[in-house]
């Protein structure tokens, strides 16, 4: 199996599992209890929070554990705007956000009459900071822009965007999910007020995430109960998950520079060789800085799902921005926002590598993919005669 869909999810690192295991059966008290084993576990929890904070370069009381990236995006944005009811009901986000952000915005629009501005991106997939600046109004409560796009890997100028928002007195949220484990993420350097991280995207466990909440940033808790996480997110703490996400962060931050250049090298090799071997392929996002593990291509005259299945038959897992399996037939909103034709968006493939990906894996892909494309182009009504 050559698994090249690491932006969708990653296998949990065996070291992460090993670190978690004792906390299921042996070290299992409720950290809110007062007896000794519980208090020790509370210590483990707070110690883990400190270590996480150190890696992300923030204060430990700015780390709020929750159930995943989606929840972190949701509660950060909702929690911020609800705490700023007087500020106005305008939100700025980008047209290439993950649904975890887009759908909260829609929710706030539908149920609470917020107005949403979706910033466009250029053909490279990057927002325009001037447009951001011009979009801010006195009513703007929050700006939310992702660090790295999950489909194209394109990195946004978060630091500059946050500065623009702050200069206008507006708070800034960033979905960091696809950045963690792929590029060094120094949250205090980014200067954001809220952030979202998901464990399973960098070999941590599923069902655990982190909301970064800058000290002093307006916030009202959305999931309420027993006052856990400093009254920011209630629910008995998922200690195994917290131990797991910490371990995954530790491993990835240790390996990041080696891992990133390894992935970038293989990704670039894949990109260049595909361009050599397969005519009429677009590299989506090639003119922007990208996280090192992601390659998004559009293969002209072919539809994505067909390629995904043919690759899968050969033991290679990738994804496509074709929405052929979802109920809407619209392809990737990200690729469309970059100005791709519908057909090209339907013909997209995303390869997302991990630190474990080998040169042999990439060579195998380069052997398998061209004949698949040829075969499908032969069948395609739009492919020019030279492909027949």
């Amino acid at each position: 199996m050559i698994y090249l869909d690491n932006n969708a999810t990653t296998p949990t690192d065996p070291e992460v599992v090993k670190a978690m295991l004792p906390y299921f059966t042996e070290k299992f008290a409720n950290p809110s209890s007062i007896y000794d084993i519980a208090f020790k576990l509370k210590g483990v929890l707070e110690n883990s929070r400190k270590k996480v904070a150190k890696i992300l370069k923030v204060n430990s009381n700015e780390i709020i554990f929750c159930s995943g990236g989606t929840e972190a995006d949701n509660i950060a944005i909702m929690g911020s705007v609800l705490a700023q009811k007087d500020k106005g009901k305008h939100i700025i986000t980008s047209s290439i956000e993950h649904k975890a952000v887009l759908e909260v915005c829609k929710f706030l629009k539908k149920y609470f009459d917020y107005t949403i501005t979706y910033l466009p991106v250029n053909s490279a997939g990057v927002i325009d900071l001037n447009v951001l600046k011009d979009s801010i109004t006195p009513e703007t409560a929050i700006v939310s822009i992702m660090l790295a796009n999950n489909e194209t890997g394109v990195i946004q100028p978060i630091k500059e965007a946050a500065e623009i928002a702050h200069n206008a007195g507006v708070l800034f949220h960033s979905d960091l999910v696809q950045g963690i484990g792929k590029i060094p993420v120094d949250i205090s350097e980014l200067g954001i007020d809220y952030g979202a991280i998901s464990g399973h995207k960098f070999h941590g466990p599923r069902g655990i995430g982190i909301m970064y909440l800058r000290r002093g940033a307006p916030f009202t808790s959305v999931i309420r109960g027993g006052g856990h996480e400093n009254n920011k997110r209630a629910g008995t703490e998922n200690i195994p998950g917290i131990i797991g996400i910490l371990k995954a962060l530790e491993i990835s931050s240790e390996r990041i520079s080696k891992g990133a250049s390894h992935m970038a090298e293989l990704r670039d090799m894949l990109q260049e060789s595909i361009l050599e071997k397969i005519p009429q392929v677009l590299i989506n996002g090639k003119d922007a800085p990208r996280i090192p593990n992601t390659l998004n291509i559009s293969v002209k005259y072919v539809e994505g799902e067909s390629m995904v299945f043919m690759l899968d038959e050969e033991g290679i897992q990738v994804s496509s921005g074709s929405a052929c399996t979802s109920n809407s037939l619209a392809p990737s909103h990200v690729l469309l926002a970059m100005g791709l034709e519908h057909a090209d968006a339907h013909g997209s493939l995303r390869f997302s590598l991990s630190g474990e990906t080998t040169r042999e894996d990439i060579e195998k892909v380069l052997e398998i993919l061209p004949p698949i494309v040829s075969k499908l182009r032969k069948m395609s009504p739009f492919a020019p005669p030279e492909f027949k």
Binding site: Y301, V302, E303, G304, E305, S306, F309, E313, S322, A323, C324, T325, S326, N327, L329, P331, E341, H342, A343, H346, K378, M379, S380, P381, F382, K388
Partner: protein
Amino acid sequence: MSIDKSKDGRLYTSKVMEHFRNPHHWGKIDDADGVGRVGNPICGDVMYIYLKIKDDIITDIAFETLGCVAAIATSSIATEIVIGKPLKEAWKLTDRDVANALGGLPANKFHCSMLAEEGLRAAIQDYLKKQGRSVDEFK
């Protein structure tokens, strides 16, 4: 009518995958007697169907399809079903027949079997029109 998954826990039935791997009758017929062009690149699925017809019987057929696994498999099975059949019978082929012949399709892939039905009818209609005839005779 459409089923959500086949018994062996795959998205597509083995019949679908068989036709996807080795589609029948793909290609183009340059001197076709009737051509049907349906679908829309905006939606990701386009199908062209080419017919050779003699004495109102489909003597040869070919398809070109841009689309997902289901689109290719339904194209293949539809051509397989109607080759050698009288036009009148071919006209009656429904999306349901196509999906059934494949052992079922995932619910959200149903539109693909409609594409085959529509493509075939468009090709037949094209042929009849060229002949100065009307599809009313099949209705």
